[in-house]
Symmetry: C2
Subunit: 156 residues, 2 copies
DNA sequence: GCCGGATTGACAACGATTCTCAGATATCTG
DNA sequence: CAGATATCTGAGAATCGTTGTCAATCCGGC
């Protein structure tokens, strides 16, 4: 996992919040798209984000940091990465699409309603339950969505 | 619940899909809104629907059946009923808001990707799990969303 | 029936997302 | 490396679901 990091780790790191994993940078190429400068910029920007972000937010951040990427391109790139499974996509209560660079395995999210801080969670039991329920009712090709919302410790 | 039907039930009914509960009609009044003709029309239309429906769909159906209700009113009514908890609201993959008249208790949905046919499901274990996970991470005021998608028997 | 606040509806306004298409680029070929 | 070619980009127009505006209408209570 941290294998890409040069092994210079000092012993006294200030305890990086044990929670988050080192946000892997989504790879356009891996998604079968040409790795253009713009796409890489979007991927990197998203990887830096520690919460779900909308296309507009990413675009705004890129602009603010000098990276000139057209809004339409940001939309296209995020949408494509999501389709390819390189990033996770969910919708705000208002219906806006928001994206996040997550670990590659199937998981769900525990999201802070206030600051957006997100924890990835896994629930094998739930996975089994959804499949079982669906099959019980004769539904095939089962998939599901599951998100948990709450107010994180920092925000209380 | 079939009490509004005259009791002429022959023994050979084509097996009404044993699945569905008798869709209760959402009550505007119960939601603290004046029970106007338009609102009742929307409520009834929704209750008749056996799948999630969008504001536009409801509006279209009403128009087709003679009931003249402004599109804006349909939007306002559905949104208000949802806020009041009289109906369930979820979003399509495309972000469109869709509504359904459901049983009043907390539940989730098993939805057919193709025809929208919906089964209400309950999972006490999942409820407990989400709460536990959230508290484990220090998140408070926990809520969650969970939907299961698949292709129903009729659509295969 | 009459009054005042709630509701409606036609239409404008909005915000997010997608489309269009000419010009810039990445990749491939030789 | 140059040229051919398919892909990608960006600015702005266009879509689309949804909400805001506001005069006309309706509802419930007196
Ligand atoms: Zn994720
Ligand atoms: Zn928080
Ligand atoms: Zn429901
Ligand atoms: Zn179906």
């Amino acid at each position: 996992m941290t294998s890409t990091e040069p092994g210079h780790a000092p012993a006294a790191v200030p305890a990086p919040p044990p929670s988050e994993a080192p946000a892997e940078v989504p790879d356009p190429a891996r998604a079968g798209m040409r790795p253009t400068k713009q796409r890489r910029a979007v991927a990197v920007a998203l990887a830096r984000e520690d919460a779900f972000a909308s296309a507009q937010q990413i675009h705004e951040r890129l602009s603010r940091e000098g990276e000139q990427v057209g809004l339409a391109t940001v939309y296209r790139t995020l949408s494509a990465l999501a389709d390819a499974g390189e990033v996770d996509m969910m919708r705000t209560e208002g219906g806006e699409a928001i994206y996040r660079s997550c670990s590659p395995t199937h998981h769900h999210h525990l999201v802070c309603r206030s600051c957006g801080r997100t924890v990835e969670v896994e629930g094998p039991a739930v996975e089994r339950w959804t499949t079982a329920i669906a099959e019980q009712h004769g539904y095939a090709e089962v998939s599901h969505t599951l998100e948990i919302f709450g107010t994180c410790p920092e925000c209380r």
